[in-house]
Amino acid sequence: MIRERYVNAALLAGLLAVPLYALLVDEPFTITLATRAVILALAAVGLNIALGWGGLVSFGHAAFFGIGGYSMGILAFHAQNFMPLDLGFMVFDGTKSMPVIWLVAIITSALAAFLIGLLSLRTSGVYFIMITLAFAQMFYYFAISWSRYGGEDGISIYIRNDFPGLNTLVPIQFFGICFAALVLALWLNARLVASPFGLALNAARQVPVRVQTVGLDPTRLKLVAFVISGAITGLAGALFADLNRFVSPSMFSWHLSGELIVLIILGGVGRLMGPVLGAVLFVALEHFLGGLTTHWHIALGAILLGVVLFARGGVIGLLCGPKGQS
């Protein structure tokens, strides 16, 4: 068995090396593909905090991904069309500045995660899976009929938003921004897991009753984890919107929630780099299988089945052994 630390380091190095190589040989699309993998990984890292450590199987994380996306879409839409956004208590011009957009995305998705989590955590098990799905579906249908922001058509942002000192239209520079966000989130994740909060959360997943008898409230621990999780996924949504320069209700769809879960299980649940490996594999499969045949979904399905049946613990589990052994 390989030590997880080495696999993690190799993975990050590879994720950085591929686009740099692509830059060298002038293959900008490979950089775009890597950026997509990095952003999906970021969204899944967010979900993994709730799912892997908090044991909260959220089938509705698309809600936060979409809220992040629409934060970007709405702010940039008003800025690009010079239509000030009247919030009732103040008038806002919109913005094309990424840091501001990120802040809004993080705050709004954290707020939504707080409300959804507060209500959903009254349930558990399959009921939790389904109630989170229900909330995401509400956002989905709301976005579809929200004609002010394009409804089903979504919002096109013609030029990617700005980041001070960088030209975000250059693929490698935008990749750099996303990669930095991912590394930051992973660092945060690692710190979180080792912190007092992480210890309590980890126990709250395994034996909530024990956590209660030492005087802590497992539901509150899980709620905080859910909020942090939603905020990170929301940030990923904003970046994803900027990658595509486009937002639409499909960011809220249950397929996306499912895909995020798939990424995590594919890589390894509750493993720091599980979502990253999952996202890289998924994007690579999508790209290469999709290039071979239009019926590539069959192959993808077979591979996913194989992982569930023969590689419990995901690919990281396959490489490094079960959790907690290395």
Binding site: S195, P196, L199, A200, A203, V207, Q212, V214, G215
Partner: protein, 249 residues
Amino acid sequence: MTDTVLETRGITKSFGSLCASDGISIDLQAGEIHAVIGPNGAGKSTLIHQICGGLRPDAGQVLLQGQDVTALPTAARARKGLGRTFQISALAMEDSVLENVMLGALGASGRPWRFFVPVMGDRTLRDRATAALERVGLQDALHSRTAALSHGQRRQLEVAVALTLDPRAFVMDEPMAGLGAEGSKTLTGFLDGLRDQAPILLVEHDMDAVFALADRISVLVYGRIIATGTVDEIRRDPAVREAYLGDPA
């Protein structure tokens, strides 16, 4: 024995037509071990749940150090000094022994909302945790995975977690369950010394342990306390013999 640490006053709980607790009044004095015994289905688990906060009684009160805690949730009661061990080990099996005890210490500190400092680097918590492990004799198993512990060691760990809370009273649900004769003996010896730190409400099936440890025994049958007294009193009580041991008086 005049200092009442834990007390229930006429607590009653029904599930449909089944009355699992029928006006139970029971008290725990400083320095004692008070055992609750009774046949299966007598309502022992229901009683523990009500004392610890998992169930809300239909009527009656639970008092901890003279304070009414009936409406408080489990976590709040724990913070007020109620230490509990479980019949079936409730431990984080994926984690190490130290991590489990650290959780107790963290609960006692009341400061779980720290997100960026490594918990293992917190000396105060760590000292508290290792002290508790030393008390129960698990100091050598510090970094073992909990899942790899023997049954007896898990029992010890349960007690260690409760110890980190520095509780005012212990509630122990069948700590001897599943232990061999040797294990029971060790644990009995350990609990014997623990009563000076905090009194123990002990629910137990193992009669040898009960008779060896208990200062007082209450007998619970069909949701009612039919007798409370010293070991000898209980041994001689005809109602107990009939109801519990099945002996015709």
